[in-house]
Amino acid sequence: MSVLVFTENWDGKFKKVSFELVSYASKIAEMLNTQTVALSIGNVQDDELNKLGNYGADKIVSVKNDKLNILDNQVYTSVIAQVAEKEGSKVVIIAQNNMGKALAPRLSVKLKAGLGAGVSKLPSSVEPFTVFKKVYSGKAYSNLVIKSDIKILTLAQNSFEFEENNKSASIESFEPTLNDDLFKTKVGNVEKQTGKILLTDAEIVISGGRGMKASDQWGPIEELAEVLGAATACSRPVSDEGWRPHEEHTGQTGKIIAPNLYIAAGISGAIQHLAGISSSKCIVAINTDKDAPIFEAANYGIIGDASKVLPELIQAVKEIK
């Protein structure tokens, strides 16, 4: 028996979410009195692999195969299933992000394992196996019982404080069976920016809405992001107007994010906007209208003109940095 974690790396370095996942999985392994096995797919060196041990992995299964350099959902699902079978995994933990949403449902069918999607806490009980997850786009939660023998959980972003839990993990390499007829997709042109903080990974996000007035008014938002090491985001009308790129649109029909700090300037706080940001740890609202609904969601608020408040905020942050 074991709890299996699917980790993610970026150019050979684990993403922060991988440590959260391993830490979360090792807590479940304790509840089940079993061990934590972490799966790494890709070219990750041993000293990096060993880091997973620091967060509670007992064993690391490393799969290095050039055929896996591009993500084919069906192929990856098969690899995870092979490892889960080999390790007798009863629970599989995956991130609730693009990768997790692509793989977890397929794996659920392959292993006939019930899926708890977007869980944000440890299971409240293992018998019956009961998880807590967001529903109605964050307006409520549900307690969900997973009845199948194997369970798959995808962990909501930024919902679990990871802690170091030094174990010396063993590393094992694994050669999965990869039949050629499994490969049905091909990747052509790739366009990606590097060196920019990804909105979905960012710890701090500075976001602007229609109250910013025009595309040429984004200077203070970008500067504040720069001094705080933050990513930038926007409301839907702002990206619809073409003031900002579509990648920045957050909300029900855009990106769903959960940073530690979300600063909303000139955003009214419509329910569909909140659906994308309500899991943020701390929300700051800057708005001229004291009755704007964003203040109901915010932890800190300033009633004022963003074009005046933001430059002062930049100044004040610079003073402490």
Binding site: N98, L198, E319
Partner: protein
Amino acid sequence: MKILVCLSNVPDTTTKAKFVNDNTALDTTGVQWIINPWDELALTRAIELKSDAANSIENITVITVGGKDSEPTMRKALAIGADDAVRIDAEPKDAYYVAAQIAEYVKSNPFDLIFSGIESADYNGSAVGGMVSEFLNIPSVSAVSSVNIDGGQVKITRDIDGGHEEVSSELPVLAIVQKGIAKEPMIAAMRGIMMARKKPLNVVAPMEVEVLTDVVNFELPQPKPPCKMIDPENVKELVNLLQNEAKVI
């Protein structure tokens, strides 16, 4: 080429979360039911693709797993421009159950391109599309922001960390769509609404499928402490609170 669009019938996105029966069911009094926003965009894209004769799309079918009360939503999809609709007559018990029903239908009624949305506005599972593809043993592409057809080949763009990439796939393929797939949802015109009444809405009996999960009950989020208001003349205080109270910078 034949296209299938999976439709989830969900409460309007402004619906307040209120629960009844010991917090085991949503209070649906006064709730407006809509096509899940992603599915509406997927349908829009399917219709756009069909309107270009070069793509030779014969047919767009929409499918839902749900009770009779989901029929108005199906009719709306027909009015927007789907050619026919299939309703698998069962309460959608969980994503696995729903996906198994859809896959079963597709096994005897094949499609080349299947669309599903990235997330339902109700149970937020992000699951049905991927599950259908695995049941059918066909490729799936997730986080899809554009789908084009070029000489019978389906060209898909998917989002990746920091950018996007082009994916080509063998058919049939299942595309799990998100923002970008279509700009604005298409709206039904009067003519479409008239025509929709005559379009087929086939009701299919469900097959026996095991349900792997049970919702025990719902909870509302913990009430949040009221927002602390900071004097706009004293922005330094905000930085102080963020640093020392919230500890987020």
